[in-house]
């Protein structure tokens, strides 16, 4: 089990390196924000430990907080990234087009 998991870990590391080979500076912040949302995957950890039977009030409270934290990480992360990227969308260029047509 451990060896298999370690193999997956190493391969995933190489995938991570390979994906981010060449990124323009302009996209650094959105990309950071996007990867930030992805590590919200820790949410699953909370779901598993709580869902598969945690006992005791303190344990349950801690796990509900962990799940809430993970959810904030995921939902907030993806939404913020989307808002950042919206700034890069093409602007309407009416004035420029009109000028181009006139000349």
């Amino acid at each position: 089990m451990l060896v298999q998991s370690l193999a997956i870990l190493v391969l995933a590391g190489f995938v991570g390196f390979a994906v981010i080979s060449k990124v323009p500076n302009t996209l650094h912040t959105p990309l950071m924000s996007g990867t930030n949302a992805i590590h919200g995957i820790v949410l699953l950890g909370g779901l598993i430990v709580l869902g598969l039977g945690a006992e005791g009030v303190l344990n349950k409270v801690l796990l509900v907080i962990a799940i809430a934290f993970g959810t904030i990480n995921v939902v907030g992360g993806f939404l913020v990234t989307d808002r950042m990227l919206a700034m890069f969308k093409e602007k309407p260029k009416d004035s420029a087009n009109a000028k181009g047509a006139g000349s």
Binding site: L2, S5, I8, L9, A12, G13, V15, G16, F17, V19, I20, S21, K22, P24, N25, L27, H28, T29, P30, L31, M32, G34, T35, N36, A37, I38, I41, V42, L43, L44, G45, G46, L47, I48, V49, L50, G51, L52, G53, A54, K60, V64, I65, A66, I67, A68, F69, G70, T71, I72, V75, G76, G77, F78, L79, V80, L85, F88, A96, N97
Partner: protein, 463 residues
């Protein structure tokens, strides 16, 4: 059912990787982000399908709480406050890891009946998650100006004290792994790591914060991967490790773009940023400049609505005028207004630039005289300075001791951003330092003007 879950996990990794690939290019980024989000939704659904899941109300409570807090925060935050929001989201992720590791400790009697690797991975996750949580909160506080953004240090004791808390955290962790199952030990691990997170980030200046946030982001990824090892969950391992690896690379790229080294940033204490470092001394050799790439220049211009080219002697030497013309045509085909600002003494003779540009068939009405150009710089998104130096030097207006004081200049620094194409940091014809290159709005694209413009043209074609 576990097979179905595993298969769904595989689909969600594929979506994460595909989404991240999309995020590295400007045209595919928005879609990439949503693809990754779909992957995340799938991973959550798959986990809930695991046999034996219970405590549904509590799970729902956690998710609802997170959504109620996260969505409005992400929706309402101002664009300028984005970096600290990312820091905060990153921090809660790290906090979640630390909490899960703590509960794991409590439910397994100090990992007593688990294999050793589970204990090690959980303890690693607890340490790194706690550092990330507290470090990110300090980063948030600094950027939000709740904490002074200037470096806060406690002097010479800083490094030894950092070492002490690290040793304390590791010592508690080793004791746990060796079989001591007192709960105070795991609390010791979490608290010592928290102190370390606070003490490492507090001395770092505001200007370096984006790099620090990126580093903490990578660390949270690694802690998630470690948690995945402990819980034997492939989704956590893969997604966490991808973030850990890509986050490290990204941190490096960001540090390079700002001309800073990561060890120097972590050592901290002097990261007050270019504004603090640029305090009017005449010896400018070691002062920071921001360098950029052709790809970035192309993107920045492609999203501008008005670009002004400021040609100088460097363009003439490199014979770059034809490439410049090609670049301008591409920009105009995207609906961007392009003009040329011609300083009367740009180059080595009056009218030098007009002749060169006319040779490349640049429409005459795009060539603007100095006065007209200066009145239009405030409405300009990008001023692209190609091999011009002294004619843009603000010292000519502001520094009476400068040899070129009194010379009329092109006020390129009035535009929203400035990109300077230049072979090196050497000074211009007059042999004096140019303040413009150290302006926070300015980025430098080093290289031969013709080659650089050629690269920009290629990048523009690919956009």
């Amino acid at each position: 059912m576990t097979t179905v879950v595993s298969l769904l996990y595989i689909v969600s990794f594929a979506l994460f990787i595909y989404g991240l690939m999309g995020l590295t290019g400007p045209r595919t980024a928005v879609r990439g982000n949503w693809i990754a989000a779909v992957g995340m939704g799938l991973a959550v659904i798959a986990t809930l399908l695991l046999p034996g899941m219970g405590n549904w109300w509590l799970i729902a409570l956690g998710i609802v709480l997170g959504t109620v807090v996260g969505v409005p925060a992400a929706r309402k935050v101002k664009m300028t406050a984005m970096p600290q929001m990312v820091a905060l989201f990153n921090g809660v992720g790290g906090g979640a890891v630390a909490l899960i590791a703590w509960v794991e400790f409590r439910t397994t009697d100090g990992y007593a009946h688990e294999p050793l690797y589970v204990a090690i991975a959980s303890l690693f996750a607890a340490i790194v998650g706690s550092i990330s949580f507290w470090g990110s909160n300090v980063a948030f506080g600094k950027l939000q100006e709740l904490v002074p953004s200037k470096p806060i240090t406690i002097g010479r004791l800083q490094q030894p004290l950092n070492a002490v808390v690290v040793v304390a955290a590791v010592a508690c962790a080793v004791a746990i792994a060796a079989g001591v199952s007192s709960e105070w030990l795991i609390i010791g691990v979490l608290v010592a790591s928290a102190l370390f997170g606070l003490m490492v980030v507090l001395p770092i200046g505001g200007a370096d914060m984006p790099v620090v946030i990126s580093l903490l982001n990578a660390m949270t990824g690694l802690s998630a991967a470690a948690m995945g090892l402990a819980l034997d969950n492939t989704a956590l391992i893969v997604a966490g490790m991808i973030v850990g690896a890509s986050g490290s690379i990204l941190t490096n790229l960001m540090a390079k773009a700002m001309n800073r080294s990561i060890p120097a940033i972590i050592a901290g204490g002097f990261g007050g940023g270019p504004a603090a470092a640029g305090g009017g001394t005449g010896t400018g050799e070691a002062r920071p400049v921001r360098s950029t790439s052709a790809a970035d220049t192309a993107i920045q211009m492609a999203y501008a609505s008005r670009v002004v080219v400021v040609p100088g002697y460097g363009m003439a030497v490199a014979q770059a005028q034809h490439a410049v013309r090609e670049m301008a045509d591409l920009l105009e085909s995207k609906g961007i207004e392009v003009a040329y600002a011609i300083h009367p003494v740009a180059g080595r003779m009056p009218g030098h630039m007009n002749v060169l540009l006319a040779e490349a068939d640049v429409p005459y009405d795009q060539l603007k005289e100095m006065d007209e150009s200066n009145s239009q710089f405030p409405q300009t998104d990008v001023a692209l300075v190609i091999g011009a130096n002294d004619v843009t030097n603000p010292a000519a207006q502001s520094d009476p001791s400068s040899p070129i004081y009194g010379m009329p200049i092109l006020h390129v620094n009035a535009s929203r951003s400035v990109i300077v194409l230049k072979r090196s940091m050497s000074s211009g014809f007059a042999g004096i330092e140019n303040e413009l290159f150290h302006d926070p709005k300015t980025s430098m694209l080093f290289g031969d003007a013709k080659a650089s413009v050629g690269d920009i043209v290629e990048e523009l074609k690919n956009l």
